[in-house]
Symmetry: C2
Subunit: 302 residues, 2 copies
């Protein structure tokens, strides 16, 4: 067990969260969300995505949002870029960080990226190089690191190889995603044992979905194995365009509650996140999955 003194949260509600919602928020509301998240103390906020507006209409205002967003010193605002055109768009609006997304499994790569796993990684190499040359920080997402709904369990050695390739091509960190949310702590431990033979744990983030209620237990396990960067979503919103496959993202406030109990610093204020989740629920028109916001909203005592 390696006790964490401090972890970094990558807040993904404005991108991974909102892209799974039926209701599309206005640019103004999205900016208000990002502002609230920064006010709460987040230093990394995934702002939007430069994928095709046809694929993700909820984020079709990526340019406008990035132009209007008043960025703060000390806060990074990564944006997703699927290809060279997406990178051009991100550079044009002055994004400080971009994220590419590959898959550790073959079927999901073909369904989500329209390319084989190998083609996607090959395509990303020049793109990442160009982003680095342009002075951008680069995040590499790797999906389906535990299992793929079509292919079954993902070979752990392959996850390690893909992670290494992403770092070798210039990514500053790689975010390992249990995209379908099937993973359990034992499997996360086994994965990290293998992956850390190929890449330094300091460059590994983890990205959990709560489909089977395992997200927080998985995050805690990963934390005990030395992972220090976690992708979380205020309110626990999120999912997948393949709707029934993935539950929401690990909820920011539930991880904050865990960190509070363990004396682990995050720099993010729990009360501010709970207030933001309440506001976001009203904007989205439905209750959000995070436990901590629901109970604190109801005035229960801690």
């Amino acid at each position: 067990m390696t006790e964490a003194a401090r972890i970094t949260l990558v807040e993904v509600a404005p991108r991974d969260g909102l892209q799974a919602e039926a209701r599309t928020l206005s640019t103004e509301t999205k900016i208000a969300l990002i502002e609230r998240l920064a006010d709460a103390g987040h230093t990394v906020i995934e702002a939007t995505s430069f994928v095709s507006p046809k694929a993700v209409p909820q984020l079709a205002d990526a340019e406008e949002l990035m132009k209007r967003l008043r960025r703060r010193d000390g806060v990074r605002y990564p944006v997703l870029v699927p290809n060279a055109k997406g990178l051009d768009r991100a550079i044009a609006v002055g994004a400080d960080e971009v994220a590419v997304f590959a898959s550790a499994s073959e079927s999901y790569s073909r369904k989500n990226l329209n390319r084989s796993r190998e083609e996607a990684l090959t395509d990303y190499a020049p793109l990442v190089r160009r982003a680095k040359d342009a002075g951008k920080r680069v995040r590499g997402y790797l999906s389906m690191v535990i299992a793929d709904p079509w292919d079954g369990p993902t070979p752990r050695e392959r996850v390690g190889e893909c992670a290494k390739r992403l770092l070798d091509m210039g990514c500053d960190e790689v975010s390992l995603g249990d995209t379908s949310g099937v993973g359990t702590p034992h499997e996360v431990a086994a994965l990290l044992d293998v992956v850390t033979r190929s890449v330094p744990i300091a460059n590994v983030a983890m990205h959990f979905h709560d489909t089977y209620g395992q997200a927080l237990a998985n995050a805690h396990l990963a934390m005990s194995r030395g992972v220090r960067i976690f992708d979380t979503s205020t309110g626990g919103i999120g999912g997948s365009p393949f709707a029934k496959m993935a539950g929401g993202n690990l909820a920011t406030e539930d991880l904050l509650w865990l960190c509070r109990g363990g004396g682990i610093a995050t720099g993010v204020d729990l009360d501010a996140i709970v207030a933001t989740a309440r506001w976001l629920a009203s904007e989205l028109g439905h209750e959000l999955p995070a436990h901590t916001s629901r109970v604190l909203r109801e005035g229960a005592q801690g």
Copy 2:
């Protein structure tokens, strides 16, 4: 880390679950629930409670239920007994196991048991002796082992002392309850460090509520520290008569999913529990909190 090869689940839906529900199920439906849980492979099913029917009207049919229930070899059916009169009633219907419930915190003891913590423990000593003399197995519940909503954090040494007293007076095991669900893995680890100085871990069960989404992470931590008995509730139903204070019990199926990923035997069939949760949701007239039942019901792939 002590890897578990096998754990025992104490299924508490028929008692801790149903007592928190607005709708009172018929005796027949409760028996059908218990039968389904036994069919699924559960070997310990908390069947009902002999508290005052005025306090818990949902379980006012305790006698009738126990008389009509066809008990199976190899399955234990503990029932709650608050006092001598409750024990008389449990003995009269031939219960094979009884559970007494004390509190590690003062305020909750006074609110829930109408007695001080010390008075409750003193009162239980002759009761447990009498139950043991009558050949019953005895479970001792200890509530609010992490914190109490009125008193704040519960001193860990006191939890150890109370647990030891319950075992010393004859309880076969003590179930440590994070009744309000505020605990986090770090606090559970710290608690177990202290408690296991006073009592053997083999006699310790843990009982988590999911108020802040921490239940499964806490259970996994406890498992890694050697706890092998967990109280869980199919569908994740449960709570507290003080409604807003506690979330549901740790969901049986979410723990089963974790065990499946870790190769940990429970003897309980996940699909049968998911089917039972679906049926129970229709009987109770609302969706249940467990994640795994919701996603498997929707036909997502694992």
